[in-house]
């Protein structure tokens, strides 16, 4: 021990407390509002949406519905009266999220023993026991229905896959994968501009791509009657929902 200038033993000086800068809290809280909360444009009474939202929030308090987008790999366990243990587990990539309010659905796709299987689950169905997100990954499109006409390797996911870890504060990564397709004919003409797909590697000849552009409707983005600005509605609903869920 050090000898102080006085000759007496020095009084114990505790080391200075470390200053913890929590980078997680410094970053802005990522806002996510599930798309089924946003009411569609129409002539329905807003009271109906308010009551539906109360029911949806009540279900979310009891059962955790994680944040997920199209392109995530999910595992869903439902109650099945005809299975051995009364549960049924299905793993798949989410290709579409549809519906508004309590009837919101999402479609999971997987290829099991060379057979493509798609199951449409309802988010608020009481038979669903658990939804686990196995892999977080956004894709370039909102709707991955073209995976039906893509090579089966892009839709196969291991049924016993381990969940890939993801930190809470990081942004959801976007996978810029360009998918290769089976030879034509496809179920829908995905090269046409109305589907606006960015995630396919089109190996079609130039003249076919040019011919597909004939069906483009460039006036659609300027159509004012089609505009539905949801930012303010989303803000209000997000505040309402997050307050209720904190209670």
């Amino acid at each position: 021990c050090r000898i102080s200038s006085d000759g007496k033993p020095a009084k114990f000086q505790p080391p200075p407390k470390p200053v913890i800068i929590d980078k997680q809290k410094q970053r802005e809280e990522r806002r996510f509002l599930s798309p089924e909360f946003i009411p569609p444009r129409g002539r329905t009474d807003p009271l109906k949406f308010y009551i539906e939202r109360k029911d949806m929030i009540q279900r979310r308090k009891v059962f955790n519905i994680p944040e997920f987008y199209v392109g995530h790999v999910l595992a869903v366990t439902t109650a099945d009266p005809y299975a051995n243990e009364k549960t049924n587990r299905f793993v798949g990539i989410c290709i579409q999220r549809g519906g508004k309010g309590l009837g919101a659905t999402f479609v999971l796709r997987n290829v099991i023993e060379d057979q493509g299987v798609e199951i449409c689950y309802e988010l608020y169905n009481p038979r669903i026991q658990a939804i686990e997100v196995l892999k977080l990954e956004k894709r370039l499109d909102d709707n991955l229905m073209y995976l039906r006409d893509a090579l089966p390797e892009y839709s196969t996911f291991d049924v016993n896959m381990k969940p890939v870890s993801h930190l809470d504060h990081e942004e959801v990564p976007v996978n810029k994968l360009q998918v290769r397709m089976k030879p034509k004919p496809w179920s829908k003409r995905w090269e046409r501009p109305k589907y606006n797909i960015k995630g396919i590697k089109f190996e079609l000849p130039e003249n076919k791509m040019k011919e597909a552009q004939k069906w483009s409707q460039p006036w659609l983005e300027f159509d004012m009657l089609r505009e539905y600005d949801t930012s303010k509605i989303e803000d209000k609903i997000w505040h309402e929902v997050s307050e209720e869920l904190k209670k």
Partner: protein
């Protein structure tokens, strides 16, 4: 319309009906009306008093109630009479598990042809048909030498009163006065609708201990916010399992 799930996991579609400012307007006795039972005039949603003549407003002035958009009659037995004017009617008048008939004006489709209005098959699209694809074809026989009254022909379709019978009530919201009724109901969204106890013979003895003559809000009963039928899955419960 909304989905509703039962405790066994089945899904049913449900229509939401809101009871908005309903008041009893007048009591018509059996002798006065000339029918078998006495009648009660009930008015629905509040509306502006400036768009109707003085004679039409007399009923509302007598009852002391603002002008109502829709007025309908209910045949009532003598022990179920309610004093007109002061008593408002609430959604808690109906209870979950009851069966109900709903009457409303259907969506007006305007002047429609015979294929949409009556479901005729029309004629083929090709193989030589000259200007005949959606026409009624023959309208009568040779021997009849006339067209019968009520022959199905093109005309104005919709905008008439129709009833859906035997709809089950799944749930009632007492705060916002909303009745959740099974299945679909005639009429467009936000249209005015008349809800009655069902007249079907299978549901005659269904309603046990209804609020009689009606549910009075200032009475002693304090109802919870939501009344559910026994089979309805409430979202406060954990997920359904088949043990």
């Amino acid at each position: 319309m909304m989905p509703i799930w039962t405790k066994s996991g089945k899904k049913h579609a449900v229509t939401l009906l809101k009871v908005q400012d309903c008041h009893v307007l007048r009591y018509i006795s059996k002798e006065e009306s000339g029918g078998k039972t006495s009648k009660l005039l009930v008015g629905g949603k509040n509306a502006s008093p400036f768009y109707k003549s003085e004679s039409a407003m007399e009923i509302f002035k007598e009852a002391g109630v603002p002008r109502k958009q829709k007025v309908s009659t209910f045949n009532v037995t003598d022990d179920a009479i309610i004093k007109p004017g002061s008593t408002p009617l609430y959604a808690a008048h109906f209870r979950p598990g009851q069966f109900v008939d709903v009457t409303a004006k259907t969506i007006g489709k305007g002047f429609q042809g015979v294929m949409k209005r009556w479901g005729f098959k029309g004629q083929p699209a090709s193989h030589g048909q000259t200007k005949t694809h959606r026409r009624p074809g023959a309208i009568s026989t040779n021997k009849a030498a006339k067209v019968y009254r009520g022959k199905k022909m093109p005309g104005k379709m919709g905008n008439i009163y129709r009833t859906s019978f035997g709809l089950k009530v799944w749930r009632i919201n007492t705060i916002h006065n909303i009745i959740y009724v099974n299945g679909s109901v005639p009429g467009h969204t936000n249209c005015l609708v008349k809800v009655k106890d069902s007249k079907l013979p299978t549901y005659k003895d269904c309603n046990k201990n209804p609020p009689f003559p009606t549910f009075f809000a200032d009475g002693d009963e304090k109802l919870p916010e939501d009344l559910y039928d026994e089979e309805v899955f409430q979202f406060t419960d954990p997920s359904v399992t088949y043990a």
